[in-house]
């Protein structure tokens, strides 16, 4: 691991990791019609976890993620697959986008849709795949 006492790295990681995770969620939810989306959001989140990994080591990062990153790949693919079915029940072709606009009190409209569900699946898969690779590499290096 890094030499102990690199206070700049510790402080930067403490501040940057939550901000970067927040930014990744922002990118994820803004996607589809605006720049953003599941893939780049997943990469930004994986960057945040990698920063944490470089600072505090792989065991602590596994604790932070709570879920094994390999399981995240499966969960992501499953959620992505779920987004296929609403179109079939409507009698349309596979993966046709379904939109459910919801009016919130106060006049704001959020558009929930199957592309959003698919994007969340892509997000989890990208985070899981990237973190599986990086954690495996780091652990091979530590041994």
């Amino acid at each position: 691991m890094m030499k102990p006492g690199t206070i700049i790295l510790y402080t930067a990681a403490r501040f940057l990791v939550p901000l970067q995770l927040l930014f990744s969620v922002f990118l994820l939810l803004r996607g589809h019609n605006e720049p953003g989306g599941g893939f780049i959001a997943g990469l930004v989140a994986a960057g945040a976890f990698t920063l944490y990994l470089f600072t505090f080591g792989s065991a602590v990062t596994r604790d932070l993620m709570r879920v094994d990153p390999r399981n995240l790949i499966g969960i992501g693919l499953f959620i992505g697959m779920l987004s296929v079915f609403p179109a079939v029940f409507q009698g349309q072709a596979f993966l046709t986008a379904q939109w459910w606009p919801i009016m919130l009190p106060g006049g704001t409209e959020i558009k929930l849709s199957t592309p959003l569900i698919f994007d969340i699946g892509v997000y989890l898969t990208v985070v899981g795949a990237t973190m599986t690779m990086i954690i495996a590499l780091t652990e091979a290096e530590e041994r």
Partner: protein, 89 residues
Amino acid sequence: MEIVILISFALLSLSMLLIFIRLLMGPTLPDRVVALELLATVIVAITGTYAIFTDRSSFIDVAIVVALTAFLAAIGFARFLERGGPRDD
């Protein structure tokens, strides 16, 4: 305004060229690493200038992502340099 932006682009491109020369020449590996970091910083600057030029705020997000990734890359390179390993200066 237009002229200022064009001058900034020209200067940033010139600095990119100089950094690239340092990257190619760089006698030691740390020199090259610093050149790469500087290159990333200049890319962030160009993206920011381009956001002003096109008047689209979405390029700011690109700049944020590039800056964060460059920070991560700096730490990764520092780690690699600190651990030693085979070097070919």
